[in-house]
Symmetry: C2
Subunit: 324 residues, 2 copies
């Protein structure tokens, strides 16, 4: 199976590459891996050929170039993050919606031309497709009323993907990832960046700014869970989705206070003291529009597995990122 | 107030034009009316100037041409109908989503350039944004999981409109019209065409084909109610929508059997005998994916008014279309 990863140089992309190189796909052999990103992805050592491509999917001709690779499985993780999509309106709509649609069109065009099995596309969507007011825990039938450009773009891509799939141009689904925590590395432009920062920076002996109240509740998955979701989605018989190809994934719902408690329990009070409350109204306004908890019944029934609790998420970060 | 109607030559478009010419807007004076459609709209006699334009919104430059008219209020009714969008996949996505997005972009670009008040856009969406399985009556928080290209296109346009509004590029909302019944004139390519045909053709002494079982339940509004919804939306303070700019409208839920009963009650058994059951699996499959009933609580609270019952819908057709 020839696998293409868009956004392969990103945090989840790199972890997905590592997982494919070390363990392969759940029920299929990888024959070739193509890595694509706006910066040149690094090729891992692997038992199969790995091709690295640098490009901007929103540029003319790029979608067609990727479609012509005739990959069997496409992980579409490429995205402008939420904060940037909110600040640069045109960039967000162009790089997220227009580019994704161009990819789907190019792959559909390819399917019409060649007689081989249509590929499968796994699209990493987000809980930012939702907007308040919410029920206490959002169920699988709750509407998408995004209150951010990023969320609106993800919701549109989900709808287009579903219709192209319904028509048989490709197979696939959209997985609505919880906020990934703890993200390794540096803070990014996502408004959600601090949720990782308040764990990561203190564990690295650095101060972390907390822009919201500790009562803020949110919905989390570790990077390893996210990779697990993507691999499980790639393996899933999409007939089981019964035409609803966008799926709320399971996660851990907890408050910032509970995040901090988990950090205290794992790393102690001195580490927690490195968190400095510095309220930021702009971040607070964006985060306020985000959901806090989900039932994720369909995903659990379909075999998607979340982290046990936030302490497990903190330990996961220490194991994977700090012990090396 | 300068008003632009896209899709002005269509059935609802023409009725909206007539309403504006005879009664104006609820709380504003019309200073000029611009009618745009893919066929040249007919100019009505009016107390204000009326400009008629022929064009295809999906063609390059058309959206910009319309934006430069600097209209204060835009009714966007232009659309490829459901049956055609299902048969011609590329045409539907291009003429519905791509063209609508181009319009929104062109108007946003205009708002950035000129200092005047941004215009208001009322977009005629559809209950085809929903897909089963459904609750008995769909509430205002129910997800959009369309099972037709037409529905997916409408849902995407709603999302894009809402985000452009949120950012202040224009004001506006999407009104999810029930299936319009009784449509005057000839059958069209919409899969829902027969819902009108089984009333209209018999009342005109002609045979009508019924492609589905009489137990099929659906959701209706008369053309006059639809025009009323559009005018009420134009007048509505969109702050009251609290960021959720797509609205399920009130309507009449009834089965085909109840439709036929209403026809019998108004026009008698001889007229009803002109309905011939001719099952059509393709139509049935499309209609099966449509909703049957709505609570429409938000819309009712916001002052949108539906027809009293299906008999009123039949009488409305006779009054407006057959008595002239």
């Amino acid at each position: 199976m020839k696998v293409l990863i868009l956004g392969a140089a990103g945090m989840i992309g790199r972890k997905l590459v590592n997982a494919l190189v070390s363990s392969g796909l759940p029920n299929a052999a990888v024959s070739k891996l193509v890595l694509y990103d706006i910066v040149m992805p690094q090729a891992p050592e692997a038992d199969f050929p790995v091709q690295c491509l640098k490009g901007d999917l929103s540029e003319s001709g790029e979608a067609g170039r990727l479609a012509e690779l005739d990959c069997d499985l496409v992980f579409h993780l490429a995205s402008i993050v939420s904060g940037e999509a909110e600040t640069d309106f045109d960039l967000g709509w162009n790089s997220n919606l227009r580019a994704s649609w161009a990819l789907f069109e190019a792959i559909a065009e390819r399917t019409r031309k060649v007689s081989s099995e249509p590929p499968k596309i796994i699209f990493s969507s987000s809980i930012a497709v939702f907007g308040g007011p919410y029920d206490a825990a959002i169920d699988d039938e709750f509407l998408c009323a995004p209150q951010s450009s990023y969320g609106a773009q993800k919701a549109c891509i989900e709808l287009i993907l579903a219709d192209y799939c319904r028509k048989g141009f490709f197979d696939g689904m959209s997985v609505r990832l919880p906020t990934i925590c703890v993200r390794p590395g540096k803070p990014n432009l996502a408004a959600s960046s601090f949720f990782s920062g308040i764990i990561r920076e203190p564990l690295n002996g650095q101060e972390a700014l907390l822009p919201v109240e500790t009562s803020v509740r949110h919905w989390f998955a570790s990077p390893e869970s996210a990779v697990g979701f993507l691999l499980h989605a790639a393996d899933l018989d999409t007939q089981k989705l019964e035409g609803r190809r966008a799926l709320n994934l399971p996660g851990v719902s907890c408050t910032v206070e509970e995040q901090i408690e988990a950090l205290r329990s794992v790393a102690g009070e001195d580490v927690v003291k490195l968190i400095k409350p510095v309220p930021d109204a702009r971040i607070r306004a964006i985060v306020d529009a985000w959901p806090e908890d989900f039932t994720a019944k369909r995903a659990l029934k379909l075999g998607f597995k979340a982290d046990d609790n936030f302490e497990a998420i903190v330990r996961n970060y220490i194991d994977k990122e700090l012990s090396n």
